[in-house]
């Protein structure tokens, strides 16, 4: 059996957990461009939507509380939860890594999708492989898993249990946060039959074509002969047919916790003197650098996390152009990050985190002017840039059918994956 653990409104939930004064209030997280990055259920009910500008959101909801988003902290909290879930199973897999991408944002280009049934709530999602469970035990696990998650991370989770990942993912959409739903293996196809095809993990163009063919529900797709779906959609059609029929055999990967180094300092009394803070930052950076150099490794991602005297937290992070273990480089970065934070009161606690750790890579300087660059090398370098700028920026075009009548069918865009 596979379990899908879905934590809706994860980022705002972490903020409200760490700062109880925010609990129950409509809360929205704001990104660097002053747009809504994530929001609580209260804010969503008040009409605030992802991607709105701050002014738009405040116009919609007058008592909206705004907080700067701290994605690195949410990733760490999610990582802690994944590590905890390994008590249930060694096979724990986050959906799309630890990116915590909001489902609604991923599907925002699919404007024709019906609002019902599609998961429009931003959520952190992970899967567990629970092995073989007797029928009676399935219901028990479905009941026990949500309280366990809430106890460990302080956030309510919706849990779906089914024979495959896809069915479990759909099942996790139905129960309220803090509850679970189990779908028995022989009921998977019946359970999925009434859901929209928009839930299938395929591109928007394929879903559009499914609608044009009159295939509105997963049951409509499953009822077709597999050869008909394969003739029309190729290999992707076979996968769609299998998923729609509740026969998802994709495994849950074994969980490999990300390697990171942390160093923290708690002040007895909150400090406002930057000289003191700089001295502490230097000490923490030296410790991190020594650990990295001792292990013969370099880090690419640096996070500075400050807890202020009023209980609020400020966080800033940067993905370095070149990974480093140098104390000097790390310290310059940390100073710059700390100075960029809008600290209004005293600082009670400071934490430095370096992750995306790996072995250093030597760089051979060329003797003469450069040689022609192969497509593979171009892709490799772009993959390293993905780590810095995110995976939504870099694409490579692939010629599918140069003579196709519709221009959008001639060329297919493929995301460049992270190295």
């Amino acid at each position: 059996m596979m379990a899908c653990v879905r934590l809706p409104h994860f980022g705002p939930g972490i903020e409200q957990r760490d700062r109880p004064a925010l609990a129950g209030k409509p809360l929205a997280l704001v990104d660097e461009t002053d747009h809504i990055n994530d929001l609580s259920q209260g804010a969503m009910q008040a009409g605030v939507r992802l991607g709105m500008s701050v002014l738009q959101a405040q116009a919609v909801c007058g008592d909206l509380t705004l907080r700067p988003a701290a994605p690195a902290r949410y990733r760490r909290a999610f990582g802690d939860l994944l590590a905890t879930l390994t008590h249930f199973s060694a096979h724990v897999e986050p959906e799309e890594g630890l990116a915590l991408r909001a489902d609604a944002r991923r599907r925002k280009h699919l404007t024709f999708l019906p609002r019902t049934q599609v998961d429009a709530v931003p959520a952190a999602v992970c899967y567990l492989d629970l092995g073989t469970l007797p029928a009676g035990e399935t219901q028990t696990v479905a009941r026990r898993l949500p309280p366990f998650v809430q106890e460990r991370c302080g956030l309510p989770a919706a849990v779906g249990l089914a024979a495959g990942k896809f069915t479990a993912r759909v099942a996790a959409l139905l129960p309220k946060a803090g509850e679970g739903l189990a779908v028995l293996p022989d009921r998977s196809a019946d359970f999925l039959a009434t859901f929209t095809v928009a839930l299938l993990p395929v591109d928007g163009e394929t879903i559009r074509q499914l609608y044009l063919l009159g295939l509105d529900t997963l049951g409509d797709v499953a009822a077709l002969p597999v050869t008909a779906v394969v003739d029309r959609f190729g290999r992707e059609g076979r996968i769609m047919h299998r998923l729609a029929g509740g026969r998802d055999t994709s495994p849950v990967q074994r969980y490999m916790p990300p390697v990171m180094e942390r160093a923290a300092h708690q002040f007895d009394d909150s400090v406002e003197d930057w000289t003191v803070l700089r001295a502490v930052l230097a000490k923490l950076t030296d410790a991190l650098s020594a650990r990295l150099r001792g292990a013969g490794q370099v880090a690419r991602h640096v996070v500075v996390d400050l807890e202020l005297a009023d209980g609020s937290r400020l966080e800033c992070d940067v993905m370095l152009r070149r990974p480093t273990a140098s104390a000097r480089s790390l310290l310059d970065t940390v100073y710059e990050l700390a100075a960029s934070l809008p600290v209004a009161t005293g600082i009670a606690d400071v934490e430095l985190v370096v992750d995306d750790i790996g072995a250093p890579v030597a760089r051979q300087l060329s003797l003469f002017e450069r040689e022609p660059v192969s497509a593979a090398h171009l892709r490799e370098v772009l993959a390293s840039l993905v780590a810095r700028y995110g995976d939504d920026c870099f694409y490579q075009a692939r010629l599918v059918d140069g003579e196709a009548r519709l221009p959008e069918r001639r060329i297919q865009m493929e995301k460049v994956g992270r190295r």
Binding site: L367, Y395, A397
Partner: protein, 243 residues
């Protein structure tokens, strides 16, 4: 070396070039000025100081849609790709027509596409690509960018950093903008080594069909020459779906 029998010398040169790159060893007679890449239109190259667009600098192309600006950018990109290097298109409005690029001769396997969230991040990415030395041409398409999208001062600062990173590199950055009085265009023009304004002049007809168009390209800024010169180019559309 016996120069009377060319094959042995050619073999040695070819072997060295295979191992160390095409620029490792060349005959003096084949050596051309490296600082510029010809555009492919002789009339235009003649009015450009250096005979082409500058390597290691920013070239600003401004013009309205269908003016021929994108065609010019794709033609230059295709010429650079023909020498075996890569190219990157930074597409701010996600509107670049890659099918048209292909028809202009751009090899898609050698082209990477970047969709940055803002012009400033697009320029930062361009700077990283220049530092990695993987692309001969970077096309920065800001044709339909919203004026209020980014802080102009931040944009200028980022562009200056990009300009500094380009020094002594063979990379060509082509920045495409709409009208030249757009804030984004003003910022780009301030750091450009070469500024070209592209204007549509007339459509070319054969019987009832449009088979191409004529465009006028005026040099608005040239750090090595005088501005104001112009050239007319004709673009045939036999191989393309639209200009």
């Amino acid at each position: 070396v016996r120069t009377s029998s060319h094959p042995p010398l050619q073999h040695v040169v070819a072997a060295l070039q295979r191992r160390w790159g095409p620029n490792a060893l060349q005959r003096l007679s084949q050596l051309r000025e490296r600082g510029f890449l010809p555009t492919g239109w002789d009339a235009l190259d003649q009015v450009l100081s250096g005979g082409g667009v500058p390597c290691g600098g920013i070239t600003h192309l401004s013009g309205q849609p269908t003016s021929g600006m994108v065609t010019l950018a794709f033609q230059i990109t295709a010429r650079a790709l023909a020498e075996g290097y890569g190219a990157v298109a930074i597409d701010l409005t996600r509107s670049l027509d890659l099918d048209y690029a292909r028809r202009c001769g751009v090899v898609l396997d050698q082209l990477a596409l970047v969709w940055p969230p803002s012009p400033r991040i697009g320029i930062e990415i361009a700077r990283d690509i220049v530092a990695q030395d993987i692309a001969a041409v970077i096309v920065f398409d800001a044709t339909a960018v919203d004026a209020a999208w980014d802080d102009p001062e931040m944009l200028v600062r980022s562009l200056r950093r990009l300009k500094a990173a380009l020094v002594d590199t063979p990379c060509i950055v082509l920045c495409l903008t709409g009208t030249s009085n757009h804030p984004c265009a003003t910022a780009i023009n301030s750091v450009a080594a070469l500024g070209l304004a592209v204007e549509h002049v007339t459509w070319l007809h054969e019987t009832q069909d449009v088979v191409g168009y004529r465009a006028q390209i005026t040099v608005r800024k040239d750090q090595r020459g005088s501005p104001g010169r112009s050239a007319a180019i004709s673009v045939r559309l036999e191989e393309t779906s639209h200009p």
